[in-house]
């Protein structure tokens, strides 16, 4: 009884949080846009339907683009889920996406492998490289007691600049105007699921498969259990004989690996060369996704879809009605704050608990009376 009501309460609370965030967004739209209602229409239903001459139709292309945009953020979302579950506030996912994309891209340019195997190998190698990089904050935490948060924040910049150095001085294609690598080999491309410009590649399927794997890992294996237990109560985990240090390291390595893989699949599925010149922001989006999913890998695709949808809505609003697309960050911050708020609507939750308990006591009381009457 209580469980079911708590689920209902959580859904309600999420809805209220989203409503608040969108309300904040609406205020800003009214302050900036010349045609606020049109802007809001693009923001809220733009990705879903297109209106032409008064006729409303389902917008397939936009929806495919929304799905395509989920590929890297599902990976970073899963990565953050694992790390935050173990209470490891490692924020280097952002840099790992970049390094993973760079390494995956380089393998796509220089290694000679058969199709299908090629992107797979590139992505796995990118993942391993990033997992090894994550050893830096993880080992520093376990051996030295240095805060993984500060180390990982600094590491983001180090990863960006080292990659940029190699990109500019060793791997740049000098025949191009902008800084980028040579073209990926044909064999390294991640194939598109749907032909066209949506860029929805098989990376999407890979992301869904990894979601299932990570859910299984977190909820059905000993390691996953240890990781979650460390997050809930580290002392308990230690005194009940779990390898806390090892699991802290493993959780961060998995986080790095997933982020790196996401970066690699993203560039090999979307571009012809590696051409990122700044951090792409997917790592931070991953944190929002993990908060929305309450660190449950199973809910990550849904959260990723929600954010990709909002992002697309903001883009449409920006191109059609000139409201800057950076508005997504304001919406995201608002949703983030309310979702992370443990005690948001806690008064209402308390009422539910009290009401349910009273009902159950009453039921039990009635049953006792009946039993006593026999």
């Amino acid at each position: 009884m209580l469980d079911r009501r708590m689920t209902q309460f959580n859904i309600l609370r999420g809805a209220v949080a989203i409503f608040f965030a969108l309300f904040v967004a609406a205020i800003f739209v009214f302050l900036t846009s010349e045609s606020p209602l049109e802007s809001l229409r693009y923001l809220l239903i733009g990705p879903l339907v297109s209106v032409k001459n008064g006729a409303v139709s389902f917008n397939m292309r936009n929806m495919l683009e929304v799905l395509a945009a989920m590929i890297p953020t599902i990976f970073t979302g899963l990565a953050v889920c694992v790390m935050f579950s173990a209470n490891q506030f490692n924020l280097a996912g952002e840099g790992c996406v970049y390094v993973g994309a760079f390494v995956g891209g380089l393998i796509g340019v220089y290694w000679d492998l058969p199709p299908f195997i090629h992107p797979l190998v590139a992505t796995l190698v990118a993942g391993v490289v990033c997992a090894v990089i994550m050893l830096i904050p993880a080992l520093a935490k376990v051996i030295l007691g240095a805060s993984e948060m500060v180390t990982s924040l600094m590491l983001n910049y180090v990863m960006l600049y080292v990659s940029m150095h190699f990109l500019n001085f060793h791997f740049a294609n000098r025949s191009r105007g902008a800084t980028m690598t040579h073209d990926f080999r044909e064999s390294a491309r991640v194939f598109q699921i749907v032909p066209g410009t949506s860029k929805l590649s098989w990376g999407f399927i890979a992301a869904l498969i990894l979601t299932v794997i990570m859910w299984f890992f977190m909820y059905r294996t000993r390691w996953g259990y240890s990781i979650r237990m460390i997050g809930i109560n580290e002392s308990f985990a230690l005194y009940s004989g779990m390898n806390v240090a090892g699991m802290i390291i493993v959780s961060q390595m998995i986080g790095g690996m997933l982020s790196g893989m996401g970066g690699s699949l993203e560039v090999l599925g979307r571009y012809n060369q590696f051409l990122w010149l700044s951090l792409p922001g997917y790592g931070w989006t991953g944190i929002t996704i993990a908060i929305l999913a309450r660190n449950n890998p199973g809910a990550v695709p849904l959260a990723a879809f929600f954010l990709a949808y909002l992002n697309k809505g903001c883009m449409l609003m920006s191109t059609k009605t000139h409201v800057p697309s950076e508005m997504i960050d304001i919406i995201q911050a608002a949703i983030f704050l309310f979702f992370a708020a443990e005690q948001f609507l806690s008064g209402y939750r308390q009422k539910i608990v009290v009401k349910t308990t009273r009902e159950e006591l009453l039921k039990q009381g009635n049953a006792d009376i009946e039993n006593g009457g026999e």
């Binding site: 800003f28 302050l31 900036t32 506030f89 924020l91 830096i136 520093a140 376990v142 051996i143 030295l144 007691g145 240095a146 805060s147 948060m149 500060v150 180390t151 924040l153 600094m154 590491l155 910049y157 180090v158 600049y161 080292v162 940029m164 150095h165 500019n168 001085f169 580290e234 002392s235 230690l238 806390v244 240090a245 802290i248 922001g281 931070w284 944190i287 929002t288 908060i291 800057p324 950076e326 508005m327 997504i328 960050d329 304001i330 995201q332 911050a333 608002a334 983030f336 704050l337 992370a340 708020a341 443990e342 005690q343 948001f344 806690s346």
Partner: protein, 317 residues
């Protein structure tokens, strides 16, 4: 190369530059110190600096007064910190997550708000005029001392404020009742509340002070350091400040010394970048890499000392 570096370190313009580079990091590091004394990791410093830098500049532009601009930046910094405090203290949002949300606001929100208020995108180069930048001052007497005078005089007003604040914050934390309360709440909230200290109120005050200090750092960035607001301006200084706080053992003076260390690393990197055959990317990396190294050395020292006293950390190592 090393000789070259040694030569630079003792040049007057380099020493002057170090003070300029250190000041904003120092403001943010002091902000981190005050928050951490009350047991709060203010990771939102980065976003707070970004937004207060923007609004400090805009207030200065609207009023054509740099002083009002600085006050505006402090106000915005305080409000953002109070928002973090509100979610942390009333809704039990993890303080780190609240900080990440503020950083998100700082990242894209600043660009959005700039457009909303001025119609500009990405930077405020068009709005800059000399009277809205924070002026520099010559200190009488000191400026006439050879060598020292050139290093110590002629800085921006806020640079002096930053170093003065090191002392003031120390006084505040160790010589006032409120400072004592902040430290008590940070070390043992139960003990503090058992003697009648309102933990919540003290934490609100600490986080608000932290935001105000970060606001000064933001104002310094947009109204002096980079002479106008632009997108990539803060560039991780809020995060570096967290490291400076940790390495400085959470004390104002320690934070000042580590801020100076990072300032020097940053200064050297801008100098080295001018040399031929040096990768500007690897040079840009130096301040961040030095921060990581410094953090590790500090943590290693602390762990060793704890171990000598027979204290082991939970992970069992």
């Amino acid at each position: 190369m090393l000789e070259q570096l040694a030569e630079w370190v003792f040049q007057i313009d380099f020493l002057v530059m170090i003070f300029r580079i250190t000041a904003p990091i120092l403001f943010a590091a002091l902000a981190a110190v005050v928050a951490e004394k009350a047991a709060m990791s203010n990771i939102g410093l980065e976003g707070t600096m970004m937004l207060s830098a923007l609004f400090g500049f805009l207030f200065a532009y609207w009023t054509q007064s740099w002083l009002l601009g600085v006050l505006g930046a402090v106000l915005v910094g305080t409000l953002l910190a109070l928002m973090m405090g509100f979610f942390y203290l009333e809704f039990k949002t993890d303080i780190i997550l609240a900080g990440i949300a503020v950083n998100m606001l700082g990242e894209g929100g600043a660009i959005f708000l700039l457009y909303m208020f001025t119609g500009l995108r990405g930077n405020t180069a068009k709005l800059v005029s000399p009277n809205i930048l924070i002026p520099t001052i010559e200190i009488p007497l000191i400026k006439d001392i050879p060598f020292l005078g050139e290093i110590l005089s002629g800085h921006c007003i806020l640079t002096y404020v930053a170093f003065l604040l090191v002392w003031l914050i120390w006084l505040f934390l160790y010589r006032t009742p409120l400072g004592l309360n902040i430290r008590a709440v940070g070390e043992s909230p139960e003990a503090a509340s058992s003697v009648g200290v309102s933990v919540k109120r003290v934490k609100y005050i600490a986080i608000a002070m932290s935001g105000a200090l970060a606001g000064l750092g933001g104002a310094f960035m947009s109204m002096y350091y980079s002479q106008g607001w632009n997108q990539g301006m803060v560039a991780g200084r809020g995060f570096i400040a967290l490291a400076a706080q940790a390495m400085g053992r959470g004390e104002p003076v320690g934070a000042m010394l580590t801020s100076l260390l990072f300032g020097t690393a940053h200064g050297l990197s801008t100098k080295v970048a001018g040399l031929p055959n040096v990768s500007s990317f690897l040079v840009s990396m130096i301040p961040y890499a030095v921060t990581i190294l410094g953090l590790f050395i500090y943590a290693w020292n602390r762990t060793r000392k704890l171990r000598k006293r027979g204290i082991r950390r939970l992970t069992g190592i």
